[in-house]
Symmetry: C2
Subunit: 262 residues, 2 copies
DNA sequence: CAGCGCATTGATGTATACATGACATCGGAA
DNA sequence: TTCCGATGTCATGTATACATCAATGCGCTG
């Protein structure tokens, strides 16, 4: 779906792998997001379309589309006089985002509990829990175990999100998690180095179990409360990680967070 | 900031007043939204860019931008093969949207209560309450009183939304309310004709008072619970309105709602 | 007569040309 | 020397031209 006016073979911009088949707009969006999250484009900096064009290697139109979408996501904000600037986040913003996720996930599990879930969904959840149990119980040496935990954890949360059977709720949760530091596993890696890692993973996993149990027992309020509390684990991890620059470097989008509020 | 290649004076498309100073993109977005909400473009229908161009009188670029934004808002959904289609909503979708709003507004007031609000904000809220009191106590003949209620109610909810002092939360609430039937006053007009009108407005207004009191007393949990319950008034009104086609015509975006699920 | 394949049509995605507004720099006057 | 204004440059917003892809209809074949 493309109208390459074929500008004599793109000027050798790096193509991060999955870009292959994607449309130029998607390519631009991924590339720009990457530049923002890594901090290569500093928070607060104005984003000139032409500068991005040169950096990404696609024309202005898809760049523009990408900027619009990223503005919707909140990673970029429109400047009154036109154009966009990379957005900076305060520690408070991050806390609020986490609280927001907790609240919305809480809503999702409450609705799931009240409305009931399918046997298939129940099995999927149990299965994920079992696999998470293995990781948490196993050796936590090296980043492998943590990466596996993050993957499974993300899957569990995605499953939970869809459980209410509500497109509207699901969409909304996706929107919150567009901010990378709001994602459920955002601070796992930051905690990996500390001695607390196993303790925190144990707590989190126990909450996972409790939430599933509450949903199956149709205890909506309990499921909701648990899910909220679960998200606060991330807030606690944020508080710890915020003390060290090195830890924040492990957090996705950590470069966007201004620790000492400007 | 515009590059009108000056196509010899636009072909006499209607300009709905506020369009005057706005950019073409904004103009397109407003016009398209209007077409969608009024049902002039039927839910499910595919939106051809060129057709819209002819209808609105702006070129493809701003139309495209408008479509992208409306897709983010959820009024329009992307078609896998490209392009967009007007989205249809089920009664369940509407209920979920209202529940979502209640949950998020609940979060906002809880945070407001926990963090405390400024004296100025408190005064503003009290002032709005007093003016709402007048309307509710006064004669409810004709649409004037209801329109006044809707305006004040919208303002009260907007104020509440900002009370937490959290950009993140505020943004998210705005997103939910992009769906017009999720707005706080969506079903007021539909209830205006029925004899229930005064009773329901009285209940709603009492909840407004209670919420403000809870916030001032720093009773976060109470404020949250009240705010949620407040939104359920809208759900009830939906249930009533859904019985009559005429009532649904009074609801903003009512044309998008497929009553008997497809 | 039905089913499959191909061509044609129309749309979207992309690139670029152009006009307008914003911002910075430079010059002049007080 | 400082402040104000004018001018020039640059970037954005918009319009349009072009290339590619999906869908549809027709013709051919079994």
């Amino acid at each position: 779906m493309a109208g390459t006016a074929s500008p004599e073979a793109a000027p050798e911009t790096v193509r991060p792998r999955e870009d292959r088949g994607a449309s130029q707009s998607v390519r631009a969006q991924l590339a720009l997001r990457e530049l923002l999250l890594s901090g290569e484009i500093a928070p607060g900096a104005r984003l000139s379309e032409l500068a991005i064009v040169e950096r990404i290697g696609v024309s202005r139109t898809p760049v523009r589309a990408a900027l619009t979408l990223l503005a919707e996501e909140g990673l970029v904000e429109p400047i009154p006089s036109g154009g966009f600037a990379a957005r900076a986040f305060s520690e408070q913003d991050v806390r609020d985002s986490i609280e927001l996720r907790g609240t919305l996930e809480g809503l999702a599990v409450r609705l799931a509990a009240e409305r009931g879930i399918s046997a298939l969904a129940a099995r999927t959840l149990q299965d994920l829990l079992a696999r998470l149990d293995e990781v948490v119980a196993g050796p936590l040496a090296g980043p492998d175990a943590f990466e596996r935990y993050i993957a499974l954890n993300a899957e569990w949360h995605r499953e939970i999100t869809g459980l209410a059977g509500s497109r509207v709720v699901e969409r909304q949760i996706e929107r919150v998690m567009a901010l990378p530091f709001a994602s459920p596993s955002a601070f796992v890696m930051a905690q990996a180095q500390t001695g607390e890692a196993r303790r925190i993973l144990t707590l989190a996993q126990d909450q996972h179990h409790a939430v599933v149990e509450a949903i199956l027992q149709r205890e909506g309020a309990r499921a909701e409360a648990l899910m909220r509390e679960h998200s606060r684990l991330a807030s606690r991890n944020l508080a710890n990680a915020a003390r060290s620059r090195q830890a924040m470097a492990q957090v996705p989008g950590g470069a966007l967070i201004r620790l000492r509020p400007v």
